[in-house]
Assembly symmetry: C2
Homo-oligomer: 141 residues x 2
DNA sequence: TACATACCTGACTAAAATGGTCAAGTTTAG
DNA sequence: CTAAACTTGACCATTTTAGTCAGGTATGTA
């Protein structure tokens, strides 16, 4: 079980945005430099964040990104879903009439992973960007 | 973020074992057939479970595996750790003096993943094999 | 004692996911 | 009109996953 960098990068970038977008849009270049994340990779991530209406973009010189909602309205679950960092547990095909692993019944752990999924999602639904801002009033660059 | 099959297989196999090892040791072959898991893969998994004293083995004809403790004493966290299915979050090198991503300070999400890790582990520490047995009194084969 | 059964070990591998890079744009402020 | 910034999509090296394969070794039973 593993948490990947993409979700972490997305959260880091948005915290950065929340801190710096108050006056002007923030360019990915700036975020890249401040957070040490590859610019090209950031572009992929922000493309998804934009599709999910978490950020808005302005083109051209002095352009960049801003949050489309207030930090306390952006929950971590929104961010992680946007970049496809969902909790994937059992791969039992829900379509199929069969249970897990081709058996007639559900595998004995089926409910377990469901519970875990709920458990983790609850955690992410409670946390907002605002919560992270509070814990990190020290400067980062 | 993803949960892999290895951990799921380990739990499935141990639930199977808990149900059938009361009289004789259970052969991996039987578990393989009942649970639809490759025999060779099961051997790898059980090798780790044995190293971590979760199961005991008997060789020879009529041999097989039995649990080394009672089902209520085996927590999911023990099982998942045994098969290296730990929760891995940030890859910040703890050795290094530097913070995450080569920055001087901890990345803004550092504490977040720590919290999540604790949150998930708490879940696994509460659940025992016994708990899974209760929820699955229906037959599985 | 033979031998089948079952555990044990380690090397190997196809496929997928991860964590990016690279190239070629389009848009717009100045 | 041009540089800064967003946009899109193809591409790729590495690592992980989920096994397979090939050989063992140990031992209960006939």
């Amino acid at each position: 079980m593993k948490l990947t960098s993409k979700g972490r990068y997305a959260v880091m970038a948005l915290v950065d945005l929340a801190r710096f977008d108050t006056i002007n849009p923030v360019s990915l270049r700036d975020i890249s430099l401040r957070q040490g994340i590859s610019l090209d990779y950031l572009e992929q991530i922000f493309s998804k964040l934009k599709k999910n209406q978490i950020v808005k973009s302005t083109r051209g010189t002095q352009g960049g990104y801003v949050l489309s909602k207030k930090p306390n309205e952006i929950k971590l679950t929104n961010i992680l879903n946007a970049v496809d960092e969902k909790v994937k547990t059992v791969q039992c095909k829900k379509e199929s009439k069969k249970g897990c692993n081709g058996k007639a019944t559900k595998c004995v752990t089926h409910n377990l992973w469901d519970e875990l999924e709920t458990h983790i999602n609850t955690f992410f639904e409670k946390k907002s960007l605002q919560d992270l801002l509070k814990n990190n009033s020290e400067r980062v660059n």
